[in-house]
Amino acid sequence: MRTLRFLLQKEFKQIFRNKSLLPLIFLMPIIQLLIIPLAADYEIKNINISIVDHDRSSFSRALISKITASGYFVLADYGNSFEDAFKQIEDNESDLILEIPVGFERNLIRENREKLFIAVNAINGTKANLGGAYLNKIIAEYNAEVRLQWTDPERFSPVPKINVASSNWFNPYMNYRFFMVPGILVFLVTMVGAYMASLNIVKEKEIGTIEQINVSPISKVNFILGKLIPFWIIGVFVFSVGLFFVARVVYGIVPLGSIGLIYGFLAIYLVALLGVGLLISTYSDTQQQSMSVAFFVMMIFLLMSGLFTPIESMPEWAQVIAYLNPVTYFIEVMRMVVLKGSEFKDIIPHFLKMIGFAIFFNTWAVWNYRKTS
């Protein structure tokens, strides 16, 4: 125990005496937690539309004012040349072209049907799809109005109607940040923890001080514990600042479930995560190597964690990878406990798997750390 205490003292001194590293560890996650949720928003609004109106009739004007009044579209240009409008798409000034043909009003009334041409910049498929769908919806509404104006209501028999009453639980204001902030917090803690842990033993190797530890009576387990505990504490600290300061004060997120449950999971998660870091560390000889590997692993962890894209939508092989990723579980647990108030019994499987990860990675790391060179 005494050995461990001295080792811890040494590690903390090393961390706190590094004046350039300290602000990075503590400030960077907080700044990022303030910025990322503002940026991570899938909602599509302000679609720029260019309207090419060859008709210039009262009908076309009514349609245009309906489109601009909808709130989804910003009128970027109103003209009568498709080439001009297309140029604007090329210059990124416009996302969508609506072309109203000559005789739109006349044909609609006389021939009972008329076409409208829509061209969407589909480089971003999701946005194009939504933009097209919004526009379609507005046109359909406009169509219904025209129909109402020009036909006798008696011609239609009443249509059977199903009213869909929808309600949104757990997040009634549909605030996307409530969903993103807990996940991002997990990821920031992960980054700090994994990098610090993966760089640490390697640093001793590279500078040569590992030699002194190797020839000392310090046991393998004590040495690894001495490396783990400081980062574990830093991880808990960064997480707490994020949860109580940024999430609560800035975003107004108050966990619905038990705080103790979150911390219980965090404790195990950090052990598993630091195990990954240590493992990378024991396999590398230079800080550059261990950083490269850590970055590689973190990138995959980040992309495959369901943080930005839903796991359910992935193909099966990718879902298998996603569920071999410890980050996935913590993000799920955070979202469940914070937003839905899930209880211990709801996340028992997550707990068991995380304990498994923790044992697996740490045993491997201790086993792979050699006191001989």
Partner: protein, 368 residues
């Protein structure tokens, strides 16, 4: 000149004799292309839906079958009471619940109107919204199949054409983004770390007291990463054209010229970081924590920049990869020439000159 090439050779050895660094250099782009191309999608698919059917009549069964037949939903199971919904949501076993009231069909046929309740787990509002919309569409379709709508007068038929990407593939949007991301990260990270490493190990002293011009030391460090980045870029390009069937409509020459410009910008940034720090750990944390997420978010390929709050939109302008992303999309997908992208090119060029000047000014040829 001969000295210079010797130095460049030394730097190449540094890179090639370290397989773990190589893994990161070349493995990362490949993995990213595969993941973004085949695994990651913003679409909402396979969401588990609970059915609470108090009606159990032909109408409710038909709607349930329609829902089960789509890609978007997986019928989880039919539970007997709405009281179980909350529990199912809390364990994450379901995302949406649909409740058919008793007498669903009878009300529909005799009173011409009936109700259907949809409850979404809105902890992910995006998903909840999309799923509710899907259900609405399915119900509307069912409703229309009950009445004859085809004989409606005064029909406006919108014809939609999807430009550049008729199949609405995700690749067209993210491949240029991944290129920007990889070039930025690899170059900034690698240059900054490799220079700081010499400082930390003390070999910088050896280099500085040698008769070789100190600035040449720095340039020799940058050259291998410059060349490797070009190789990297080609790998991504080949992969996305063959594997993801991406179109390439513009000029390759222009594309590589613009990419070289971004690489130069990134190298100068790496240089600046390395001149401002003394330890590899700090350099790494700045280049990774400080750069990875802003680059990923503010390049515009994951989330649309125009939706962000004003301060972020302004801030995104100083992210070099944002400009490169616009350039790459214009060349690769829209097939435009230099006249369409000169503004973005000029901005990148300005950034490079600025970063390079500042970092060379900060570069100390004296030992501390």
């Amino acid at each position: 000149m001969k000295q210079f090439f010797t130095f460049v050779k030394k730097e190449f050895y540094h890179v090639f004799r370290d397989p773990k660094t190589l893994l990161m250099l070349f493995g990362l782009p490949v993995v990213q292309i595969v993941l973004f191309g085949f695994a990651l999608t913003n679409e909402i698919k396979n969401s588990k839906v609970l059915i609470v059917d108090y009606a159990k009549d032909a109408a409710s069964q038909e709607i349930i079958t329609k829902i089960g037949a789509t890609d978007e939903f997986v019928l989880q199971h039919q539970i007997l009471s709405h009281l179980q919904i909350e529990d199912e949501f809390k364990t994450g076993r379901a995302r949406l619940a649909i409740i058919f009231p008793a007498n669903f069909q009878r009300d529909l046929l005799h009173q011409n109107s009936t109700q259907l309740q949809v409850i979404a787990d809105a902890s992910d509002p995006n998903q909840a919204n999309t799923l509710t919309n899907y259900i609405n569409t399915i119900v509307t379709e069912y409703q229309q199949s009950l009445s004859e709508v085809n004989g409606m007068p005064y029909q406006i038929r919108p014809e939609i054409r999807m430009l550049y990407n008729p199949e609405l593939k995700g690749a067209t949007n993210f491949v240029p983004g991944v290129m920007a991301l990889v070039l930025m990260l690899v170059c900034v990270l690698m240059t900054s770390v490799s220079i700081v490493r010499e400082k930390e190990l003390g070999t910088m002293e050896v280099l500085l007291v040698s008769p070789f011009n100190p600035f040449m030391v720095i340039i020799a460090k940058a050259i291998p990463y410059f060349l490797l980045s070009l190789v990297n870029l080609s790998v991504i390009l080949v992969l996305s054209i063959t594997l993801l069937e991406m179109p390439f409509n513009g000029s390759y020459l222009l594309f590589f010229a613009e990419s070289s410009l971004l690489i130069l910008t990134a190298l100068s940034l790496g240089l600046l970081i390395s001149n401002s720090t003394d330890s590899q750990q700090t350099a790494m944390l700045i280049s990774l924590m400080g750069m990875l997420i802003p680059t990923m978010l503010l390049t515009g390929f994951m989330f649309p920049i125009e939706n962000m709050p004003l301060p972020l939109r302004v801030f995104s302008n100083i992210i070099p990869s944002k400009w490169y992303y616009l350039i790459a999309k214009s060349i690769m997908i829209k097939g435009l020439g230099f006249s369409a992208i000169w503004k973005e090119t000029l901005i990148l060029l300005g950034m490079t000159v600025f970063l390079l000047t500042v970092s060379l000014k900060k570069f100390k040829i004296r030992l501390a």
